[in-house]
């Protein structure tokens, strides 16, 4: 379905760097993806690989200094957000593109009633009156499944449970019916029944108003159920980009394979979960070759000396790995060393 729909967001070569005493951290190092109307793009990847920084860069919310968008462009309906003035940007934030932040516990203002925190955006962008905005925010709280919403709206964040705060964040992001929703781990604090309800709500908005969604999550179950396509990130790069079916059926990049392997299985008992040995390279000191090389079971010499590119495969999957190129000498294919 996404093919016929209009392109709304196009990220090209996005780079976000942090300059600190210890050097330059290339948190986001050249990212490309597109998002169409009504489509859901999943972003998954190792903790610290730059998922949140990518999304914060889109809204130009990275802490600066030390952070800075060091290159690339973000085209929203054809206009480049990176070079836009701050005034123009403000009209887009919270209105046309909104974001659910990863940290539900600290992302709400501790001294302002949660209802007001939602109403505020409505008054600003939808020019609603005080009363209408308040009523709408109570309605939003109800929509995200918070019981006694009138009472809860008057409470301050510390009086709400973790999951309630997260739903307040969600209500806030959805209040102005944005065209693009960036959801950074939106359901970590929610139980599965409410999670299902929230995902349903997002889907509903997608079909109704054609909202495009960027769903950042480590919950592969959520990816499987909601996303049309998935970008797998590793150390500031996209290492695999595929449709959801393809990714789960036939993960290509060794990191993606490792990731799917380490899932705890709900229907069987394991003594020890499978992990990917080793750890991510420091963002201050990226290796010259493939960034996954130190942990990769298939590694060859070329992996250590040269960085692979994100290359289109015949089935439309893009993957950043020498294994899928002509350079691969490749007879250790399936088993792998180490």
């Amino acid at each position: 379905m996404n093919k016929k729909n209009k392109l709304i967001l196009e990220v090209k070569g996005l780079k976000t760097h942090f300059t600190t005493k210890r050097g330059v951290s290339k948190a986001v190092d050249g990212i490309d993806f597109t998002l169409h109307k009504g489509e859901t793009l999943g972003i998954v990847g190792e903790s610290g690989c730059g998922k949140s920084m990518t999304s914060l860069s889109i809204l130009r919310l990275i802490p600066s200094p030390p952070g800075k968008i060091a290159g690339g462009s973000v085209l929203f309906k054809g206009k480049d957000l990176v070079t836009m003035t701050e005034d123009e940007m403000r009209k887009i934030r919270g209105n046309e593109i909104s974001m659910i932040f990863q940290e539900p516990m600290t992302s709400l203002n501790p001294v302002i009633p949660v209802g007001e925190q939602i109403a505020e955006a409505l008054r600003l962008h939808q020019k609603m009156g005080k009363k209408a905005a308040w009523e709408k925010s109570v309605e939003m709280l109800k929509l995200v499944g918070i019981p006694s919403p009138e009472k809860r709206a008057k409470q301050e964040p510390f009086q709400l449970s973790g999951g309630m705060r997260q739903r307040v964040m969600i209500a806030m992001a959805l209040a102005c019916t944005p065209e693009v929703l960036i959801a950074d781990e939106p359901t970590t604090a929610l139980d599965v029944t409410i999670q299902a309800q929230i995902l349903e709500l997002i889907k509903e908005l997608q079909t109704k108003i054609g909202m495009g969604v960027i769903m950042i999550t480590h919950d592969l179950g959520v990816v499987a159920e909601t996303c049309d396509k998935v970008a797998v990130m590793y150390a500031g790069n996209i290492v695999e980009h595929a449709s959801t079916e393809q990714l789960f059926a036939n993960p290509k990049h060794p990191y993606t394979q490792g990731l799917l392997n380490s899932l705890p299985k709900i229907h069987e008992d394991q003594d020890e979960l499978i992990t990917i040995d080793g750890s991510v390279p420091s963002p201050y000191n990226m290796p010259a070759g493939c960034r996954f090389a130190s942990r990769c079971p298939y590694r060859e010499d070329i992996c250590i000396t040269h960085q692979p590119n994100l290359i289109n495969q015949s089935d439309g999957v893009k993957v950043r790995c020498w294994k899928y190129t002509d350079e691969w000498t490749g007879n250790r294919d399936k088993e792998g060393v180490i």
């Binding site: 942090f18 600190t20 210890r22 998954v44 990847g45 190792e46 903790s47 610290g48 998922k51 949140s52 920084m53 990863q102 940290e103 539900p104 516990m105 600290t106 499944g145 918070i146 019981p147 006694s148 009472k151 009086q159 449970s161 973790g162 970590t188 604090a189 929610l190 139980d191 599965v192 029944t193 409410i194 999670q195 299902a196 309800q197 480590h218 919950d219 592969l220 179950g221 499987a224 159920e225 959801t244 079916e245 789960f248 059926a249 490792g258 990731l259 799917l260 380490s262 899932l263 705890p264 299985k265 709900i266 008992d269 394991q270 020890e272 979960l273 992990t275 750890s279 420091s282 201050y284």
Partner: protein, 330 residues
């Protein structure tokens, strides 16, 4: 299975935690959020008991009340036979080394002006667990456990990603050699490979040092992996408690059944039948009479609206609070 012979490390009796709500008008009676409403359970040494349940059902509140981060309204908590709620500040501080907590978002509890090194150092210094010269090695060991590089020591909390902060919180909790750790959504911000690493670590530590975990999580596959027993809460009450396998294989309470059926599965080809619960989630400010679940329960009978079901041991070590649990379809 042989839990009966095991040593009880924590005993919670009739714990209640009520929070006052702002009144709409002066004349209305004072209302309360009955966040935790008379729950009892015990924790055996070296086991992992998980608490699961709907958002807002009182899981975190239970954890906080045990640690006296909020003073409970009523009830008793015994740690190794000692009445925790009766301890004074000094005694409590000593006990805090034994009882650690890992919060959902540790960023709030990490001092923004301290580097990771200072944070870990301070934790060790307060509880006097490691001699000064050995602390550096211990810190590096801890960081290794949670998959952070040595270079992290000199960085401040805000310079980390969400999952990395979480791991700092975990390292800090482990730094003081605790006996009981309350993990409140401790791994929910982590990607699966790191999550697997940490879960393995927790399990190993548990085997080695007989650690006990009270594990609060929404991720049922994680719960299934890590727990020995599972307790299900609904609106401030315990509705079911059983051995893990028993609970996942034959849940007795209708709420547990609904919960287990909504787990998303990482397989896009599989679209399963969910028991989507009908009706609004009732409010803990004004919980329903009788069985608290009756407003959404597909099987509710007249009795459920009137009488509160007691927690009954229906199968050995499997407790459930439902009037008609034995007659439910499986």
């Amino acid at each position: 299975m042989e839990t009966a012979e095991k040593k009880i490390i924590l005993q919670v009796d009739h714990l209640k935690q009520y929070f006052p709500v702002k009144k709409d008008s002066f004349f209305k009676p004072k209302a309360y959020v009955k966040a935790v409403d008379d729950i009892s359970f015990e924790l055996y040494e070296g086991e992992t008991l998980s608490i699961v349940g709907e958002s807002g059902c009182g899981k975190s509140t239970t954890g906080r009340a045990i640690l006296r981060l909020d003073e409970p309204t009523d009830g008793k908590v015994h740690y190794m036979g000692q009445d925790i709620l009766g301890l004074n500040k000094k005694e409590m501080r000593k006990l805090r080394g034994d009882l650690q907590v890992i919060f959902q978002d540790p960023f709030a509890s990490l001092n923004p002006r301290q580097t990771v090194k200072q944070i870990l150092n301070e934790a060790m210094a307060i509880q006097e667990v490691v001699d000064k010269p050995k602390r550096k090695d211990r810190m590096l060991e801890l960081l290794g456990y949670v998959g952070l590089s040595a270079e992290s020591l000199d960085r401040y909390p805000h310079e980390f990603s969400g999952g990395q902060r979480q791991r700092i919180g975990i390292a800090r909790a482990l730094a003081v050699d605790p006996k009981l750790i309350i993990c409140d959504e401790a791994v929910s911000a982590l990607d699966v490979s790191i999550q697997a690493q940490i879960l393995n670590l927790l399990k190993n530590l548990q085997k080695q040092f007989k650690l006990t975990f009270l594990f609060i999580s929404h991720d049922l596959s994680v719960v299934r992996h890590i727990s020995d027993r599972v307790m299900v809460m609904y609106l401030g009450k315990v509705v079911e408690i059983a051995e893990k396998k028993e609970l996942f294989d034959s849940p007795l309470h209708p709420y547990t059944q609904a919960l287990l059926s909504s787990i998303p599965v990482p397989d896009p080809t599989l679209k399963r039948d969910r028991v989507i619960l009908k009706g609004d989630v009732p409010s803990p400010i004004d919980p329903p009479r009788g069985c608290r679940f009756h407003t959404r329960c597909p099987f509710a009978v007249e009795k459920c609206k009137q009488e509160e079901p007691p927690l009954r041991e229906l199968v050995k070590n499997h407790f459930v609070s439902c009037h008609i649990a034995e007659d439910l379809p499986v």
